[in-house]
Point group: D2
Chain length 283, copies 4
């Protein structure tokens, strides 16, 4: 497995899509030196977007996190989250009624900004659920799993309502040694129990990349996919999704895919990045 220097790759593209966790940051905050990468991109007029499977907050709040850490150029227009796709779906398809959700009040607030009425599963009166027109899995926090997962199962058994999963990840890292079950993992369990088909948003799904691509075009950048690079730490989401959308892809070894296992993981999955780099840090 050949390891390539990230800079020697990056300079050949007009736009770069970055995954967030494991690429730009980890549980301790931004990767030391990643600010140099953004300085290099600016200097060389290379555009970029951050594509993240996250529906816990809106892009404004996600961008604020980068700014608080010193990356002032990362504004909300640079962040594309699976939550944005879920919100767009709801805006498009929900003409009336209430959006029931599993998640925090903060995650629901972002949905409400397009004028939708929301109610937490925790607060829902099961005998007055006729007004619920859609269910959304937003976040793994903000509710009591013992009671509210069961309540969700019973809601879906009694009412035939479309169900949206706004983050397809099954788990996420919380520190160097531990992970936590993500809302995508909870949604999988509920789907297996009620045996219905949920609608999922997030990488590796093409929709995430198309949304980013359209963003790029709308801001005057290239429409040529050969000029866009996808950088990620996870084969099954970032690399598979980027490949399928027709982009060149870089696997970095600063996150989910450990250096010593990268080669065997590529072989065993058959998901082949165009390049492998130690990290996305440009010195």
């Amino acid at each position: 497995m050949e390891i390539t220097d990230f800079k020697s790759i990056a300079r050949n593209y007009e736009t770069i899509f970055f995954d967030a966790f494991g690429v730009l940051k980890n549980h301790q905050g931004l990767l030391p030196g990643i600010e140099n990468t953004f300085a290099y991109l600016k200097e060389n007029d290379i555009d970029y977007y951050i594509l993240t499977n996250d529906a816990s907050r809106g892009p404004k709040e996600l961008a604020q996190g980068y700014q608080d850490a010193g990356l002032m150029d990362i504004t909300k227009s640079k962040v594309i989250s699976s939550g944005m796709l879920a919100r767009e779906y709801l805006k498009m398809k929900v003409k009336s009624g209430t959006v029931a959700y599993l998640g925090t009040k903060e995650s629901a607030h972002y949905i409400e900004t397009v004028g939708l009425k929301t109610i937490s599963i925790a607060d829902l009166d099961m005998d007055e659920a006729d007004d619920v027109s859609v269910l959304v899995f937003l976040d793994d926090e903000g509710f009591d799993w013992n009671h509210h997962i069961n309540k969700t199962v019973n809601l879906l058994r009694r009412h035939n309502i479309p169900t949206i999963v706004s983050n397809t990840d099954r788990y996420y890292p919380v520190n160097r040694k531990e992970v936590a079950v993500a809302v995508g993992g909870i949604a999988d369990m509920v789907e297996n129990i009620v045996r219905k088909t949920f609608i999922r948003f997030g990488k590796p799904d093409a929709q995430m990349f198309i949304y980013a691509h359209q963003h790029t075009i709308s801001r005057g950048a290239t429409t040529d996919k050969n000029k866009i690079l996808m950088v990620g730490d996870t084969l099954s989401t970032d690399i598979l999704g980027g490949n399928k959308f027709g982009l060149d892809t870089v696997l970095v070894l600063t996150g989910n895919t450990l250096a010593e296992r990268a080669e065997s993981r590529i072989r065993s999955t058959g998901i082949i990045p165009t390049f492998v780099c130690e990290s996305a840090i440009i010195d």
Copy 2:
């Protein structure tokens, strides 16, 4: 779909295996009239066993439930539960160390009766988990899902320990209108996240039927499978398992399989009971 009278079938067998929930009882208690069935079996010298996917209590406690409701002949030797198989596995394979579990203290107590040391995931110190030699999913109650499912995921990521699921059901009815997620459903989610292979006990697995069959033989009854009838309300567990073990099977319409959907469910699953009866009640 031909509906047959249960009595006209039952009298042709020497032993009958019954599923419990949906066949003998429901959320309100014993099915009215089911006591007549047991009187008929006694009178006609037909032996019987109750095969249940349940690891929340031992067979003694399960039997006590029937006795409290007036069926005094149902003693612990008549009850065969998936928990018994899990306990037998642990007795056979665990030579030392501690059995970590998800479930109630009561469910763990039954495991302890063969001399094993247990610890609830809730009480486990993650930094002293080296002594854990096996993990068991016993019951959906007795722990905080938000915290202890995540703790379980991290235990399995850090330690390579065999994992047992002592009830394969994904959900169970709690009243006429509601179900609850069973420990089998939670185990499926954890297995999908940690991507390891768990060992499962319960119908439709052959082991459950073999255990019952050996019980039958050890008590002097027939070894001839043609003389044993399996009665259940669920195609995918009771009927599939009974068929595979070579038994004649009866689907009753007092539980999971509704009368109006039975025919289409049989056709769509390809799981075909030998007979279909309204209920297991003999007037």
Copy 3:
């Protein structure tokens, strides 16, 4: 379940996406009267596209089929097939080497039109397979399943090459009573055996709808998804995909979803069309 007249729906949209088989035609040819629908669309200046999971031929050949049956307005620019997406992927990602394929010579010919070199698995010398840079499942015909599926499995075990499935369907109807296994079904089997992750093109994947949408835009039509209607006979591909992309959807009862089962299928899958119509025929 309310049945709505198709005309009363169609007139509210600027563009209509049609599935082909089960909507416009069946094993006997075009549905009698479907020509009136296209006359109505022309008269009322409603644009349309045909979205089909088919990689057996190029859009030109697919369009020719409609013209031969008398629908002269259906030119190749009106047809969007999963094969087009697969071809675009190959054009974008394959810089050198040979494309190995399972399918007919005709299906490969369409791939070759972008300048790629192809070789049928049937003709491949396994000892000189180093030049193969990608494998494509194109069609269920054109090769000997006994020999060439095994040859494909061994190719993928020995060489780590990306694999493309250009039609996600598992089976397709061949006449009123019979179906045949589609190349998507064969690809699923091979994927389960080699345990790698293939890249799939076709409904319900968003990419199919985006491609159609971009086509629409490039021809000067609306960019507003509220003005596009998706019409299909299959919940799990046409309706799920259309819903997810944010379109209004019509389920027609002239194909895979039988009238007497439509309501229970919608309930059991949780895939809910905006409207249900007898057919897409406008008298």
Copy 4:
């Protein structure tokens, strides 16, 4: 990972269950030196059985293969195959009608020895299929995949008949470099297409081990599972099945599990053998 000498383990057991392929033999025939193992077992009065997922021939023919290679003590009573379980099922459950099969004439011949009438799918007249009472997947050879897999799919769509898979393996080795799709792999594909539930026989299913255990008991050997050892080369069948049945297990490195990958495979699957040995050969 500790490697233990096989002899030092074997001598502590009264009965040993061996997997065949990858343990006793490979594509070139018996493993050189394996005859010493059988001499040692005989000398030390340790009983043994061969448990194999194979339904291509009866145990007599399978035993003959060992005898032809010089192991004269391996008679048909020493061989327990998944085909025996399938045959027992058919004998028990099929009271009338014809058994349709996919496989060779030889594989069907073994089924016929219990008095059943069989017909190859190749020879079946689809318009006179009402007499078919069960379908069995016996072998991957003996039929034309292109035509007869499609014929099988249509048979199962039109008739609701129970379906048996007599070998759960998805593929098998044919020489040092190549594998072939096994009948279990073909059955998985058909099951996914017709969406029915098939009945499977073979390791890791408990039934295989129980059958072997009962054989052991009926021949006067121990009933004590602590005195039985399972030896295999495949974690997901031999070791998982042996563990679940409560036996001590040995993973050998002469077959599917390569020495250099054994430790990581054990960790990633969570299927943990009691011992790991280079081979089952006793010098």
